[in-house]
Protein backbone atom coordinates (compact mmCIF):
# COMPACT_ATOMS: atom_id res chain seq x y z
CA UNK A 1 0.00 0.00 0.00
CA UNK A 2 2.79 2.37 0.94
CA UNK A 3 4.57 1.75 -2.35
CA UNK A 4 1.37 2.36 -4.24
CA UNK A 5 0.85 5.67 -2.46
CA UNK A 6 4.34 6.77 -3.30
CA UNK A 7 3.74 5.93 -6.90
CA UNK A 8 0.58 8.03 -6.92
CA UNK A 9 2.19 10.93 -5.14
CA UNK A 10 2.53 13.85 -7.48
CA UNK A 11 5.36 16.33 -7.47
CA UNK A 12 4.62 20.00 -6.86
CA UNK A 13 4.77 20.84 -10.52
CA UNK A 14 2.08 18.31 -11.41
CA UNK A 15 -0.06 19.55 -8.53
CA UNK A 16 0.31 23.08 -9.79
CA UNK A 17 -0.80 22.05 -13.28
CA UNK A 18 -3.92 20.44 -11.85
CA UNK A 19 -4.63 23.51 -9.72
CA UNK A 20 -4.33 25.75 -12.79
CA UNK A 21 -6.73 23.54 -14.71
CA UNK A 22 -9.39 23.87 -12.01
CA UNK A 23 -8.94 27.63 -11.75
CA UNK A 24 -9.05 28.24 -15.50
CA UNK A 25 -12.14 26.06 -15.85
CA UNK A 26 -14.09 27.90 -13.14
CA UNK A 27 -17.50 29.05 -14.34
CA UNK A 28 -18.18 32.79 -14.59
CA UNK A 29 -17.89 34.52 -11.22
CA UNK A 30 -16.80 31.40 -9.38
CA UNK A 31 -13.00 31.43 -9.44
CA UNK A 32 -12.82 32.70 -5.84
CA UNK A 33 -14.92 29.77 -4.62
CA UNK A 34 -12.88 27.34 -6.68
CA UNK A 35 -9.66 28.83 -5.26
CA UNK A 36 -10.94 28.42 -1.72
CA UNK A 37 -11.81 24.74 -2.21
CA UNK A 38 -8.58 24.17 -4.07
CA UNK A 39 -6.54 25.60 -1.22
CA UNK A 40 -7.98 23.04 1.19
CA UNK A 41 -7.53 20.19 -1.28
CA UNK A 42 -3.92 21.12 -2.08
CA UNK A 43 -2.90 21.82 1.49
CA UNK A 44 0.30 23.34 0.12
CA UNK A 45 0.57 27.14 0.11
CA UNK A 46 3.50 27.33 -2.25
CA UNK A 47 1.74 25.31 -4.96
CA UNK A 48 -1.48 27.20 -4.33
CA UNK A 49 0.15 30.64 -4.58
CA UNK A 50 1.99 29.77 -7.77
CA UNK A 51 -1.11 28.36 -9.43
CA UNK A 52 -3.25 31.30 -8.37
CA UNK A 53 -0.83 33.95 -9.56
CA UNK A 54 -0.62 32.21 -12.93
CA UNK A 55 -4.31 31.45 -13.43
CA UNK A 56 -6.13 34.52 -12.12
CA UNK A 57 -4.78 37.00 -14.71
CA UNK A 58 -5.67 34.59 -17.54
CA UNK A 59 -9.12 33.93 -16.11
CA UNK A 60 -9.81 37.64 -15.54
CA UNK A 61 -8.84 38.47 -19.11
CA UNK A 62 -10.73 35.63 -20.75
CA UNK A 63 -13.85 36.32 -18.67
CA UNK A 64 -13.62 40.03 -19.49
CA UNK A 65 -14.26 40.98 -15.88
CA UNK A 66 -15.02 44.56 -14.98
CA UNK A 67 -13.37 46.29 -12.00
CA UNK A 68 -14.36 49.56 -10.43
CA UNK A 69 -11.81 52.34 -9.97
CA UNK A 70 -10.91 52.91 -6.31
CA UNK A 71 -12.25 56.47 -6.49
CA UNK A 72 -15.49 55.20 -8.09
CA UNK A 73 -14.94 57.48 -11.08
CA UNK A 74 -15.62 54.62 -13.48
CA UNK A 75 -14.56 51.09 -14.25
CA UNK A 76 -12.17 49.18 -16.44
CA UNK A 77 -12.57 45.95 -18.39
CA UNK A 78 -9.81 43.40 -17.93
CA UNK A 79 -8.95 42.08 -21.39
CA UNK A 80 -5.90 41.21 -23.42
CA UNK A 81 -6.66 44.17 -25.72
CA UNK A 82 -6.03 46.95 -23.22
CA UNK A 83 -3.25 45.36 -21.19
CA UNK A 84 -0.53 47.99 -20.65
CA UNK A 85 1.48 45.56 -18.59
CA UNK A 86 0.71 42.56 -16.40
CA UNK A 87 -1.21 44.53 -13.77
CA UNK A 88 -2.12 47.67 -15.71
CA UNK A 89 -5.13 48.13 -17.95
CA UNK A 90 -6.11 51.14 -20.01
CA UNK A 91 -9.58 52.61 -19.89
CA UNK A 92 -9.72 54.64 -23.12
CA UNK A 93 -13.01 56.31 -22.19
CA UNK A 94 -11.53 58.16 -19.23
CA UNK A 95 -7.95 58.01 -20.58
CA UNK A 96 -6.81 56.39 -17.37
CA UNK A 97 -4.70 53.37 -16.53
CA UNK A 98 -5.83 51.16 -13.67
CA UNK A 99 -3.52 49.06 -11.55
CA UNK A 100 -5.23 45.83 -10.57
CA UNK A 101 -4.73 43.04 -8.07
CA UNK A 102 -5.63 40.01 -10.17
CA UNK A 103 -6.09 37.58 -7.31
CA UNK A 104 -8.24 39.86 -5.19
CA UNK A 105 -9.97 41.04 -8.36
CA UNK A 106 -9.87 44.69 -7.37
CA UNK A 107 -8.49 47.84 -8.84
CA UNK A 108 -5.94 49.31 -6.42
CA UNK A 109 -4.83 52.47 -8.16
CA UNK A 110 -5.54 54.64 -11.15
CA UNK A 111 -3.39 57.14 -13.04
CA UNK A 112 -3.86 59.32 -16.14
CA UNK A 113 -2.71 57.55 -19.31
CA UNK A 114 0.37 58.90 -21.04
CA UNK A 115 0.15 60.26 -24.59
CA UNK A 116 2.01 57.18 -25.88
CA UNK A 117 -0.65 54.93 -24.40
CA UNK A 118 -3.50 56.74 -26.16
CA UNK A 119 -4.44 56.78 -29.85
CA UNK A 120 -3.73 59.79 -32.09
CA UNK A 121 -6.52 62.41 -32.38
CA UNK A 122 -7.39 61.08 -35.88
CA UNK A 123 -7.93 57.54 -34.53
CA UNK A 124 -9.53 58.76 -31.34
CA UNK A 125 -12.27 60.46 -33.38
CA UNK A 126 -13.31 57.07 -34.74
CA UNK A 127 -12.86 55.27 -31.42
CA UNK A 128 -14.73 57.83 -29.39
CA UNK A 129 -17.69 57.98 -31.81
CA UNK A 130 -17.94 54.19 -31.82
CA UNK A 131 -17.64 54.01 -28.04
CA UNK A 132 -20.58 56.39 -27.66
CA UNK A 133 -22.80 54.41 -30.05
CA UNK A 134 -21.86 51.04 -28.54
CA UNK A 135 -22.40 52.36 -25.00
CA UNK A 136 -25.87 53.50 -25.97
CA UNK A 137 -26.69 50.13 -27.53
CA UNK A 138 -25.30 48.20 -24.53
CA UNK A 139 -27.24 50.41 -22.16
CA UNK A 140 -30.44 49.49 -24.00
CA UNK A 141 -29.78 45.80 -24.54
CA UNK A 142 -27.89 44.64 -21.43
CA UNK A 143 -29.20 45.68 -18.00
CA UNK A 144 -25.79 45.08 -16.44
CA UNK A 145 -23.61 45.36 -19.49
CA UNK A 146 -20.27 47.10 -19.74
CA UNK A 147 -18.41 47.84 -22.91
CA UNK A 148 -15.29 49.40 -24.25
CA UNK A 149 -13.63 50.09 -27.59
CA UNK A 150 -9.89 49.55 -27.86
CA UNK A 151 -7.55 50.37 -30.71
CA UNK A 152 -5.32 47.33 -31.16
CA UNK A 153 -3.55 48.23 -34.39
CA UNK A 154 -2.42 51.45 -36.03
CA UNK A 155 -3.28 53.76 -33.14
CA UNK A 156 -0.64 56.33 -34.08
CA UNK A 157 -1.93 57.12 -37.58
CA UNK A 158 -2.33 60.89 -37.81
CA UNK A 159 -4.09 61.11 -41.16
CA UNK A 160 -6.21 59.03 -43.52
CA UNK A 161 -4.19 56.59 -45.62
CA UNK A 162 -3.39 53.82 -43.19
CA UNK A 163 -5.16 50.78 -41.77
CA UNK A 164 -6.17 50.39 -38.15
CA UNK A 165 -8.14 47.95 -36.03
CA UNK A 166 -10.54 48.27 -33.12
CA UNK A 167 -11.88 45.72 -30.72
CA UNK A 168 -15.32 46.21 -29.22
CA UNK A 169 -15.75 44.28 -25.98
CA UNK A 170 -19.16 43.76 -24.40
CA UNK A 171 -19.40 41.95 -21.12
CA UNK A 172 -22.43 41.27 -18.94
CA UNK A 173 -22.32 39.06 -15.88
CA UNK A 174 -24.84 38.16 -13.26
CA UNK A 175 -23.43 36.58 -10.15
CA UNK A 176 -26.02 35.39 -7.73
CA UNK A 177 -24.62 32.57 -5.57
CA UNK A 178 -27.45 32.97 -3.04
CA UNK A 179 -29.77 31.79 -5.84
CA UNK A 180 -27.26 29.12 -6.95
CA UNK A 181 -27.04 30.77 -10.33
CA UNK A 182 -24.30 32.60 -12.22
CA UNK A 183 -23.87 33.54 -15.82
CA UNK A 184 -22.06 35.70 -18.31
CA UNK A 185 -22.39 37.06 -21.82
CA UNK A 186 -19.17 37.99 -23.54
CA UNK A 187 -18.83 39.45 -27.02
CA UNK A 188 -15.64 40.48 -28.76
CA UNK A 189 -15.89 42.25 -32.12
CA UNK A 190 -12.81 42.93 -34.24
CA UNK A 191 -13.21 45.77 -36.70
CA UNK A 192 -10.52 46.21 -39.33
CA UNK A 193 -10.53 49.61 -41.02
CA UNK A 194 -9.06 49.02 -44.46
CA UNK A 195 -8.12 52.36 -45.89
CA UNK A 196 -7.17 51.33 -49.40
CA UNK A 197 -10.23 49.13 -49.99
CA UNK A 198 -12.39 51.62 -48.08
CA UNK A 199 -14.09 48.77 -46.21
CA UNK A 200 -14.55 47.71 -42.63
CA UNK A 201 -14.23 44.01 -41.98
CA UNK A 202 -16.03 42.83 -38.90
CA UNK A 203 -15.55 39.55 -37.03
CA UNK A 204 -17.52 38.69 -33.93
CA UNK A 205 -17.27 36.05 -31.22
CA UNK A 206 -20.01 35.64 -28.68
CA UNK A 207 -19.81 33.31 -25.73
CA UNK A 208 -22.64 32.73 -23.27
CA UNK A 209 -22.40 30.66 -20.13
CA UNK A 210 -24.78 29.90 -17.28
CA UNK A 211 -24.45 27.70 -14.23
CA UNK A 212 -27.28 26.54 -11.99
CA UNK A 213 -26.22 24.46 -9.02
CA UNK A 214 -28.97 24.05 -6.47
CA UNK A 215 -28.88 20.33 -5.65
CA UNK A 216 -27.20 19.57 -8.90
CA UNK A 217 -24.88 21.03 -11.47
CA UNK A 218 -26.17 22.16 -14.84
CA UNK A 219 -24.28 24.39 -17.24
CA UNK A 220 -24.92 26.12 -20.52
CA UNK A 221 -21.95 26.68 -22.77
CA UNK A 222 -22.78 28.40 -26.04
CA UNK A 223 -20.50 29.96 -28.62
CA UNK A 224 -21.06 31.66 -31.90
CA UNK A 225 -18.85 33.36 -34.49
CA UNK A 226 -19.82 35.55 -37.40
CA UNK A 227 -18.48 37.92 -40.02
CA UNK A 228 -19.76 41.02 -41.71
CA UNK A 229 -18.51 44.10 -43.56
CA UNK A 230 -19.48 47.68 -44.26
CA UNK A 231 -18.02 50.69 -46.02
CA UNK A 232 -15.42 53.10 -44.66
CA UNK A 233 -17.14 56.39 -43.81
CA UNK A 234 -16.73 59.38 -41.54
CA UNK A 235 -16.29 58.53 -37.80
CA UNK A 236 -19.93 59.14 -36.82
CA UNK A 237 -21.32 57.16 -39.76
CA UNK A 238 -18.88 54.29 -39.15
CA UNK A 239 -19.95 54.22 -35.52
CA UNK A 240 -23.62 53.95 -36.46
CA UNK A 241 -23.19 51.26 -39.08
CA UNK A 242 -20.84 49.15 -36.93
CA UNK A 243 -23.24 49.35 -34.00
CA UNK A 244 -26.17 48.40 -36.22
CA UNK A 245 -24.27 45.36 -37.46
CA UNK A 246 -23.36 44.28 -33.92
CA UNK A 247 -26.89 44.84 -32.69
CA UNK A 248 -28.30 42.87 -35.59
CA UNK A 249 -26.01 39.85 -35.07
CA UNK A 250 -26.40 39.78 -31.32
CA UNK A 251 -30.18 40.04 -31.56
CA UNK A 252 -30.25 37.21 -34.07
CA UNK A 253 -27.98 35.16 -31.85
CA UNK A 254 -30.21 35.65 -28.83
CA UNK A 255 -33.16 34.53 -30.92
CA UNK A 256 -31.27 31.41 -31.98
CA UNK A 257 -30.42 30.64 -28.34
CA UNK A 258 -34.10 30.91 -27.49
CA UNK A 259 -34.92 28.63 -30.39
CA UNK A 260 -32.38 26.07 -29.15
CA UNK A 261 -34.11 26.11 -25.78
CA UNK A 262 -37.59 25.79 -27.18
CA UNK A 263 -36.50 22.85 -29.35
CA UNK A 264 -35.28 20.96 -26.31
CA UNK A 265 -38.36 19.21 -24.93
CA UNK A 266 -39.74 17.79 -28.13
CA UNK A 267 -36.77 17.21 -30.34
CA UNK A 268 -33.26 17.33 -28.93
CA UNK A 269 -33.98 15.96 -25.46
CA UNK A 270 -36.13 13.20 -26.93
CA UNK A 271 -33.07 11.67 -28.58
CA UNK A 272 -31.64 11.08 -25.12
CA UNK A 273 -34.76 9.83 -23.34
CA UNK A 274 -38.43 10.03 -24.22
CA UNK A 275 -40.95 11.45 -21.79
CA UNK A 276 -43.17 8.44 -22.33
CA UNK A 277 -42.32 5.05 -23.81
CA UNK A 278 -42.95 4.36 -27.49
CA UNK A 279 -46.13 2.64 -26.33
CA UNK A 280 -47.29 5.99 -24.82
CA UNK A 281 -48.27 4.27 -21.57
CA UNK A 282 -46.25 3.60 -18.46
CA UNK A 283 -44.23 0.42 -18.46
CA UNK A 284 -46.32 -2.62 -17.41
CA UNK A 285 -44.20 -3.64 -14.42
CA UNK A 286 -47.13 -5.54 -12.88
CA UNK A 287 -47.38 -7.69 -15.96
CA UNK A 288 -43.85 -8.37 -17.18
CA UNK A 289 -44.83 -12.01 -17.52
CA UNK A 290 -46.23 -11.08 -20.94
CA UNK A 291 -42.72 -10.46 -22.22
CA UNK A 292 -41.48 -13.91 -21.27
CA UNK A 293 -44.74 -15.42 -22.57
CA UNK A 294 -44.29 -13.68 -25.89
CA UNK A 295 -40.78 -14.98 -25.99
CA UNK A 296 -41.92 -18.53 -25.23
CA UNK A 297 -44.54 -18.38 -27.94
CA UNK A 298 -42.01 -17.00 -30.40
CA UNK A 299 -39.65 -19.80 -29.46
CA UNK A 300 -42.38 -22.38 -29.93
CA UNK A 301 -43.38 -21.01 -33.29
CA UNK A 302 -39.75 -20.69 -34.25
CA UNK A 303 -39.93 -16.97 -35.01
CA UNK A 304 -37.73 -15.71 -32.19
CA UNK A 305 -34.00 -15.75 -32.30
Amino acid sequence: MAAEDEECELNDRQKEEIAKWFLLNSPAGEIQFVAKDLRSVLNNDKVYDDAVSYAFPLYNKSHLICLQFPNRSGDVLITSYNEVDENEFLDPRTAQVATVDHVKQVCTDVRPATDEELPSPYIEDFRCALDAEIARYVGEAYPKGVCSVFCVKGKDAELPGSDFEFVVVISAAKISPQNFCNGSWRSVWNIEFKDEEQVLEIRGKVQVGAHYFEEGNVQLDAKHECKDATIFQAPDDCAISITNIIRHHETEYLASLEASYSNLPDTTFKDLRRKLPVTRTLFPWHNTLQFSLTKDIQKELGIGK
Binding site: N25, P143, V218, D221, H224, L257, T267, F269
Partner: protein
Amino acid sequence: MEGAMGLLRRIDPKQTDTALSALLSLLPHHSSDLLSQVDQPLQVLRDADTGKEFILCEYNRDADSYRSPWSNKYHPPLDDAPFPSSELRKLEVEANEIFAIYRDQYYEGGISSVYMWEDDNEGFVACFLIKKDGSKTGQGKRGYLQEGAWDAIHVIQVGPEEEGTTRYCLTSTVMLSLTTNNESSGTFNLSGSIRRQMNMYLSVADGHLCNMGKMIEEMEGKLRNSLDQVYFGKTKEMVCTLRPPSEVVMKLPGS
Protein backbone atom coordinates in the same frame (compact mmCIF):
# COMPACT_ATOMS: atom_id res chain seq x y z
CA MET B 1 -13.04 15.86 0.93
CA GLU B 2 -15.35 18.81 1.41
CA GLY B 3 -13.18 20.92 -0.86
CA ALA B 4 -13.10 18.16 -3.46
CA MET B 5 -16.89 17.88 -3.47
CA GLY B 6 -17.12 21.67 -3.73
CA LEU B 7 -14.90 21.66 -6.80
CA LEU B 8 -16.96 18.95 -8.46
CA ARG B 9 -20.09 21.00 -7.90
CA ARG B 10 -18.60 23.87 -9.89
CA ILE B 11 -16.72 22.26 -12.76
CA ASP B 12 -18.74 21.77 -15.94
CA PRO B 13 -20.34 18.30 -15.71
CA LYS B 14 -18.95 17.35 -19.10
CA GLN B 15 -15.48 17.67 -17.55
CA THR B 16 -16.27 15.51 -14.50
CA ASP B 17 -14.02 12.77 -15.80
CA THR B 18 -10.95 15.01 -15.94
CA ALA B 19 -11.79 16.67 -12.63
CA LEU B 20 -12.25 13.37 -10.86
CA SER B 21 -9.01 11.85 -12.07
CA ALA B 22 -7.21 15.07 -11.09
CA LEU B 23 -8.70 14.89 -7.59
CA LEU B 24 -7.86 11.19 -7.29
CA SER B 25 -4.23 11.94 -7.99
CA LEU B 26 -4.21 14.92 -5.60
CA LEU B 27 -5.93 12.95 -2.84
CA PRO B 28 -4.80 9.32 -3.18
CA HIS B 29 -5.82 8.63 0.43
CA HIS B 30 -9.40 9.60 -0.27
CA SER B 31 -9.74 7.63 -3.48
CA SER B 32 -12.31 5.14 -2.16
CA ASP B 33 -14.35 7.97 -0.60
CA LEU B 34 -14.26 9.91 -3.84
CA LEU B 35 -15.16 6.93 -6.00
CA SER B 36 -18.09 6.04 -3.77
CA GLN B 37 -19.45 9.60 -3.57
CA VAL B 38 -18.91 10.80 -7.09
CA ASP B 39 -20.71 9.28 -10.02
CA GLN B 40 -18.53 8.87 -13.04
CA PRO B 41 -19.56 8.70 -16.65
CA LEU B 42 -20.33 5.06 -17.45
CA GLN B 43 -17.98 2.88 -19.45
CA VAL B 44 -18.90 -0.11 -21.59
CA LEU B 45 -17.28 -3.47 -22.34
CA ARG B 46 -18.28 -6.27 -24.71
CA ASP B 47 -19.04 -9.67 -23.22
CA ALA B 48 -16.71 -12.18 -24.88
CA ASP B 49 -19.25 -15.02 -24.59
CA THR B 50 -22.47 -13.39 -25.72
CA GLY B 51 -21.09 -10.52 -27.79
CA LYS B 52 -23.43 -8.17 -25.92
CA GLU B 53 -22.22 -4.95 -24.36
CA PHE B 54 -22.46 -4.38 -20.62
CA ILE B 55 -21.87 -1.38 -18.38
CA LEU B 56 -18.99 -1.04 -15.96
CA CYS B 57 -19.34 0.45 -12.51
CA GLU B 58 -18.07 0.05 -8.98
CA TYR B 59 -20.73 -2.59 -8.31
CA ASN B 60 -19.64 -5.19 -10.82
CA ARG B 61 -15.94 -4.55 -10.35
CA ASP B 62 -13.45 -6.70 -8.48
CA ALA B 63 -9.79 -5.74 -8.74
CA ASP B 64 -9.48 -4.74 -12.41
CA SER B 65 -12.16 -7.08 -13.70
CA TYR B 66 -15.85 -6.53 -14.36
CA ARG B 67 -18.63 -9.10 -14.20
CA SER B 68 -20.96 -9.24 -17.20
CA PRO B 69 -24.65 -9.62 -16.38
CA TRP B 70 -25.13 -11.67 -19.54
CA SER B 71 -22.63 -14.50 -19.04
CA ASN B 72 -22.03 -13.90 -15.31
CA LYS B 73 -18.27 -14.02 -16.13
CA TYR B 74 -15.57 -11.57 -15.15
CA HIS B 75 -13.71 -9.71 -17.90
CA PRO B 76 -10.78 -10.27 -17.83
CA PRO B 77 -11.16 -13.59 -15.97
CA LEU B 78 -10.50 -13.43 -12.25
CA ASP B 79 -9.96 -16.10 -9.60
CA ASP B 80 -11.87 -16.01 -6.31
CA ALA B 81 -14.19 -13.29 -7.55
CA PRO B 82 -17.50 -12.75 -5.74
CA PHE B 83 -20.81 -13.81 -7.33
CA PRO B 84 -24.39 -13.27 -6.19
CA SER B 85 -26.16 -16.30 -4.70
CA SER B 86 -27.96 -18.48 -7.23
CA GLU B 87 -31.32 -17.20 -6.01
CA LEU B 88 -30.26 -13.58 -6.43
CA ARG B 89 -28.61 -14.34 -9.76
CA LYS B 90 -31.96 -15.64 -10.97
CA LEU B 91 -33.57 -12.32 -10.10
CA GLU B 92 -30.62 -10.49 -11.71
CA VAL B 93 -31.09 -12.39 -14.99
CA GLU B 94 -34.79 -11.62 -15.02
CA ALA B 95 -34.16 -7.96 -14.14
CA ASN B 96 -31.69 -7.59 -17.00
CA GLU B 97 -34.19 -9.02 -19.47
CA ILE B 98 -37.10 -6.84 -18.37
CA PHE B 99 -35.02 -3.73 -17.92
CA ALA B 100 -33.69 -4.05 -21.47
CA ILE B 101 -37.29 -3.90 -22.72
CA TYR B 102 -38.03 -0.91 -20.48
CA ARG B 103 -34.88 0.78 -21.74
CA ASP B 104 -35.78 0.20 -25.36
CA GLN B 105 -39.26 1.68 -24.88
CA TYR B 106 -37.98 4.89 -23.32
CA TYR B 107 -34.59 5.28 -24.97
CA GLU B 108 -35.06 3.74 -28.41
CA GLY B 109 -31.59 2.27 -28.12
CA GLY B 110 -28.90 2.46 -25.51
CA ILE B 111 -27.32 -0.14 -23.27
CA SER B 112 -28.53 -1.35 -19.88
CA SER B 113 -27.15 -3.57 -17.15
CA VAL B 114 -28.48 -4.65 -13.77
CA TYR B 115 -26.28 -5.95 -10.96
CA MET B 116 -27.32 -7.40 -7.63
CA TRP B 117 -25.48 -8.46 -4.53
CA GLU B 118 -26.29 -9.49 -0.98
CA ASP B 119 -25.69 -6.92 1.70
CA ASP B 120 -24.97 -7.30 5.41
CA ASN B 121 -28.48 -6.82 6.78
CA GLU B 122 -30.37 -9.73 5.23
CA GLY B 123 -31.48 -7.72 2.25
CA PHE B 124 -29.81 -7.03 -1.06
CA VAL B 125 -28.73 -4.17 -3.28
CA ALA B 126 -29.55 -3.75 -6.94
CA CYS B 127 -27.95 -1.37 -9.38
CA PHE B 128 -29.72 -0.48 -12.62
CA LEU B 129 -27.62 1.28 -15.25
CA ILE B 130 -28.49 2.88 -18.56
CA LYS B 131 -26.21 4.48 -21.09
CA LYS B 132 -27.45 6.14 -24.23
CA ASP B 133 -25.55 7.86 -27.01
CA GLY B 134 -28.16 10.13 -28.56
CA SER B 135 -25.88 11.80 -31.10
CA LYS B 136 -26.66 11.55 -34.78
CA THR B 137 -23.65 9.28 -35.24
CA GLY B 138 -24.86 7.19 -32.30
CA GLN B 139 -28.45 6.21 -31.62
CA GLY B 140 -30.14 9.58 -31.94
CA LYS B 141 -33.14 8.64 -34.04
CA ARG B 142 -34.03 12.19 -34.96
CA GLY B 143 -30.46 13.26 -35.70
CA TYR B 144 -30.54 16.63 -33.97
CA LEU B 145 -27.57 16.16 -31.70
CA GLN B 146 -23.94 16.63 -32.59
CA GLU B 147 -23.16 15.04 -29.28
CA GLY B 148 -25.59 13.58 -26.76
CA ALA B 149 -24.86 11.44 -23.75
CA TRP B 150 -27.20 10.19 -21.05
CA ASP B 151 -25.97 8.06 -18.15
CA ALA B 152 -28.42 6.92 -15.49
CA ILE B 153 -27.40 5.13 -12.31
CA HIS B 154 -30.05 3.75 -9.96
CA VAL B 155 -28.97 2.01 -6.78
CA ILE B 156 -31.70 0.41 -4.68
CA GLN B 157 -31.18 -0.97 -1.22
CA VAL B 158 -33.81 -3.55 -0.48
CA GLY B 159 -34.33 -4.19 3.22
CA PRO B 160 -35.33 -7.49 4.82
CA GLU B 161 -38.97 -8.47 4.62
CA GLU B 162 -41.11 -7.49 7.63
CA GLU B 163 -44.73 -8.57 7.78
CA GLY B 164 -45.12 -8.66 4.05
CA THR B 165 -43.51 -5.28 3.28
CA THR B 166 -40.00 -4.20 2.53
CA ARG B 167 -38.21 -0.88 2.55
CA TYR B 168 -36.78 0.22 -0.78
CA CYS B 169 -34.23 3.02 -0.71
CA LEU B 170 -33.41 4.37 -4.18
CA THR B 171 -30.58 6.76 -5.05
CA SER B 172 -30.55 7.89 -8.66
CA THR B 173 -28.11 9.97 -10.65
CA VAL B 174 -28.49 11.24 -14.17
CA MET B 175 -25.57 12.74 -16.05
CA LEU B 176 -26.12 14.19 -19.46
CA SER B 177 -24.60 16.36 -22.09
CA LEU B 178 -26.14 17.51 -25.33
CA THR B 179 -24.67 19.66 -28.06
CA THR B 180 -26.19 21.08 -31.18
CA ASN B 181 -24.05 22.76 -33.74
CA ASN B 182 -24.93 24.65 -36.86
CA GLU B 183 -23.75 27.54 -38.97
CA SER B 184 -26.34 30.08 -37.89
CA SER B 185 -26.50 29.41 -34.18
CA GLY B 186 -23.03 28.13 -33.37
CA THR B 187 -22.38 25.56 -30.66
CA PHE B 188 -25.02 25.09 -28.00
CA ASN B 189 -24.18 22.75 -25.15
CA LEU B 190 -26.06 21.90 -21.99
CA SER B 191 -24.60 19.47 -19.54
CA GLY B 192 -25.72 18.45 -16.13
CA SER B 193 -25.68 16.03 -13.30
CA ILE B 194 -28.33 15.60 -10.59
CA ARG B 195 -28.89 13.04 -7.87
CA ARG B 196 -32.06 12.33 -5.89
CA GLN B 197 -33.30 9.84 -3.31
CA MET B 198 -36.64 8.11 -2.81
CA ASN B 199 -37.75 5.79 -0.02
CA MET B 200 -40.79 3.51 -0.10
CA TYR B 201 -42.31 0.70 1.92
CA LEU B 202 -43.98 -1.68 -0.48
CA SER B 203 -45.73 -4.99 -0.30
CA VAL B 204 -43.50 -7.81 -1.50
CA ALA B 205 -46.55 -9.54 -2.94
CA ASP B 206 -46.02 -7.67 -6.22
CA GLY B 207 -42.45 -8.90 -6.43
CA HIS B 208 -39.18 -7.02 -6.02
CA LEU B 209 -38.75 -6.43 -9.71
CA CYS B 210 -42.15 -4.80 -10.10
CA ASN B 211 -41.58 -2.57 -7.05
CA MET B 212 -38.08 -1.52 -8.07
CA GLY B 213 -39.09 -0.98 -11.67
CA LYS B 214 -41.98 1.31 -10.77
CA MET B 215 -39.76 3.37 -8.49
CA ILE B 216 -37.09 3.73 -11.15
CA GLU B 217 -39.60 4.67 -13.79
CA GLU B 218 -41.11 7.34 -11.53
CA MET B 219 -37.69 8.64 -10.56
CA GLU B 220 -36.38 8.81 -14.13
CA GLY B 221 -39.49 10.70 -15.14
CA LYS B 222 -38.96 13.18 -12.31
CA LEU B 223 -35.26 13.64 -13.06
CA ARG B 224 -35.87 14.15 -16.74
CA ASN B 225 -38.61 16.60 -15.98
CA SER B 226 -36.63 18.66 -13.51
CA LEU B 227 -33.62 18.78 -15.82
CA ASP B 228 -35.82 19.92 -18.66
CA GLN B 229 -38.13 22.29 -16.78
CA VAL B 230 -36.12 23.47 -13.79
CA TYR B 231 -32.41 23.17 -14.51
CA PHE B 232 -32.36 24.00 -18.21
CA GLY B 233 -35.06 26.56 -17.50
CA LYS B 234 -32.87 28.30 -14.94
CA THR B 235 -30.00 28.63 -17.41
CA LYS B 236 -32.39 30.05 -19.98
CA GLU B 237 -33.69 32.49 -17.39
CA MET B 238 -30.09 33.54 -16.75
CA VAL B 239 -29.50 34.21 -20.45
CA CYS B 240 -32.63 36.34 -20.57
CA THR B 241 -31.51 38.26 -17.48
CA LEU B 242 -28.17 39.02 -19.07
CA ARG B 243 -29.83 40.14 -22.28
CA PRO B 244 -33.60 40.43 -22.11
CA PRO B 245 -35.28 39.59 -25.40
CA SER B 246 -36.91 42.72 -26.72
CA GLU B 247 -39.76 42.64 -29.16
CA VAL B 248 -38.73 46.07 -30.45
CA VAL B 249 -35.31 45.07 -31.74
CA MET B 250 -36.40 41.59 -32.85
CA LYS B 251 -37.22 42.58 -36.38
CA LEU B 252 -34.72 44.85 -37.96
CA PRO B 253 -35.07 45.88 -41.57
CA GLY B 254 -33.41 43.31 -43.78
CA SER B 255 -33.21 40.64 -41.06
